[in-house]
C-alpha cells in the first residue's frame, strides 16, 4: 500500500495556504507535518482525507480501496456529550464494522470511565476516547491532527506506543505536530519556503 501526493496546492477563503507540496508514504512509514500556526497542517490532513479538494495536484492511494482506508482524528472530537463513552464507541464500531470496544478501552485506561457521559469528561479524557476509537476498526492510514493535545505524559506515551504498533503492522500515519514524535517519521515542514 502506498500513498502519493504530488504538487498539492490548497486555497482556503481565497488565500493560498501552501503550494507544491509533495510526499510519498509506504507501508510502515510515518510522516510528521510541522509548521507554524496557519501554515496548513490541518488543511493538508483534510486534503488527504478527502474532506477538502486540492486546488491543484492530486493524491493517490495505491491500491485503491472500495471501503474507507483511513482514520481521521481532527481538532473536533466527534463525540456526543449526551451519550456515554461506551455508547459513543459502540456507534462507531457498528458503523465501521469493527471489533470489541473493551480492548480499546483497556489500552487507554478508560474502563472506569466507560459508563460516564462524555459531557462529564475532561479535555484529556475525551482525547483518550478519540484515540481509543482508532483501535476499534483497523484502517491502514491514520491522519492525526495534533493527537497529543491535552494528554498527560502517560497517555502521550501510550499514544506513541499505539502508533508505533500500527506502523509495525504495516500501517501508515500522517501526524501534524509541534512536538518530536516517539517513533521514526519523515519530516514535512510547511510554510518554510
Amino acid at each position: 500500500m502506498r500513498l502519493t501526493a504530488s504538487d498539492l496546492t490548497a486555497v482556503r477563503g481565497g488565500r493560498m495556504v501552501f503550494a507544491g507540496v509533495s510526499f510519498a508514504l509506504g507501508a510502515g512509514q510515518a510522516l510528521a507535518v510541522t509548521g507554524a500556526n496557519g501554515s496548513g497542517k490541518s488543511t493538508l490532513l483534510r486534503l488527504v482525507a478527502g474532506l477538502l479538494k486540492p486546488a491543484a495536484g492530486n493524491i493517490t492511494i495505491d491500491p485503491a480501496r472500495e471501503d474507507s482506508a483511513l482514520h481521521y482524528l481532527g481538532h473536533l472530537d466527534g463525540l456526543k456529550t449526551a451519550l456515554t463513552v461506551r455508547q459513543n464507541l459502540q456507534f462507531w464500531r457498528t458503523l465501521w464494522n469493527g471489533g470489541a470496544v473493551e480492548t480499546a478501552f483497556a489500552r487507554f485506561g478508560l474502563e472506569a470511565l466507560a459508563d460516564l457521559h462524555v459531557g462529564a469528561l475532561s479535555a484529556g479524557q475525551k482525547r483518550r476516547v478519540t484515540l481509543a476509537r482508532l483501535l476499534i476498526a483497523p484502517r491502514p492510514l491514520w491522519l492525526l491532527d495534533e493527537p497529543a493535545t491535552a494528554l498527560d505524559t502517560a497517555a502521550e506515551a501510550m499514544l506513541g506506543t499505539v502508533v508505533a504498533e500500527h506502523l509495525a503492522s504495516g500501517g501508515m500515519a500522517i501526524v501534524a505536530t509541534h512536538r518530536p514524535l516517539p517513533f521514526p517519521a519523515a519530516m514535512l515542514a510547511l510554510g518554510a519556503a
Partner: protein, 221 residues
C-alpha cells in the same frame, strides 16, 4: 451496511429524544392547535371543516422547527467528518438520519393527531383521514427539510433560517395532504387521488433529497 444505517437512524432518534427536541415539537403542535379556536371563535362547524388544514399547518411548522439541528450538531462536534469518511455512502447516511428524525419528530405528531383533533371538533372519519395523510406526508416534510438543513450546515449557519428556506418547497405536500384530509368533509373530491400524489411526493423526495443533501454537505468545508 444495513446495521450501520440502523445505527445512524437509532443514534439520530436517540439524541433527538435526549435533547428534548421531541417534547418541544409536540408542545408547539399542541399550542398551535389550541390557539386556533381562540382566534376563530367557538364555531364548531367551521372548526370541524378547517380542522384538517389546521392540523397539517401545525404539523408542518412543528416538523420544520427542530430540523436545523439535523446536521448542524454533527458538524459542530466533528461527527460529520467521520460520517463522511465512514465508507457508508453519504446519501444513505442522510436517508438514515432522516428516518431517525422522522421516528423522533414526525411519528409522535401522527400519534398525537387523533387526540388533538378532538380539540378542533373534527369527526372521526376525517380525523383518521388526517392522521393517515400525516403518516404519509411527514416523511416528505423531513426529507425536503433535510436539504435545507444540509445547506445551512455546510454554510456554517443555523437557526430558523432552515424553516424559512424550506417552507416554500413544502407547499405541494401541504396542498395534497390537506385536500386528501379534507375530502371526507368538503366532498365531492375523493380521498384517494390526492392521497396517492402525497405518497408519490414522499417517495420522490426519498430519492431526490438524500442526493441533494449529500451534495450540499460535500461542498461544506
Amino acid at each position: 451496511m444495513i446495521p450501520a444505517l440502523v445505527a445512524v437512524a437509532a443514534q439520530t432518534a436517540r439524541l433527538s429524544l435526549r435533547s428534548g427536541g421531541v417534547l418541544v415539537g409536540l408542545v408547539f403542535f399542541l399550542a398551535v392547535i389550541v390557539v386556533v379556536p381562540f382566534g376563530i371563535g367557538p364555531d364548531l362547524k367551521l372548526l370541524g371543516r378547517i380542522g384538517p388544514a389546521v392540523l397539517w399547518i401545525a404539523a408542518l411548522l412543528a416538523t420544520l422547527l427542530g430540523l436545523d439541528r439535523l446536521f448542524r450538531d454533527d458538524r459542530d462536534d466533528g461527527s460529520l467528518d467521520l460520517l463522511m469518511l465512514s465508507g457508508v455512502p453519504l446519501e444513505l447516511t442522510v436517508l438514515a438520519k432522516c428516518a431517525g428524525a422522522w421516528l423522533a419528530t414526525g411519528l409522535p405528531l401522527v400519534i398525537a393527531t387523533p387526540v388533538l383533533g378532538l380539540l378542533l371538533g373534527i369527526d372521526p372519519v376525517p380525523l383518521f383521514a388526517t392522521a393517515a395523510t400525516l403518516l404519509a406526508g411527514t416523511p416528505a416534510l423531513i426529507l425536503i427539510g433535510a436539504i435545507g438543513a444540509a445547506l445551512i450546515a455546510a454554510l456554517g449557519r443555523g437557526g430558523l433560517i432552515v424553516a424559512v428556506l424550506v417552507l416554500p418547497f413544502t407547499i405541494p405536500v401541504l396542498i395534497f395532504g390537506v385536500s386528501a384530509a379534507s375530502a371526507p368533509i368538503v366532498g365531492p373530491t375523493p380521498f384517494l387521488p390526492p392521497f396517492l400524489i402525497l405518497v408519490a411526493l414522499t417517495l420522490v423526495s426519498a430519492v431526490v433529497a438524500p442526493l441533494a443533501a449529500a451534495a450540499a454537505l460535500r461542498t461544506g468545508e
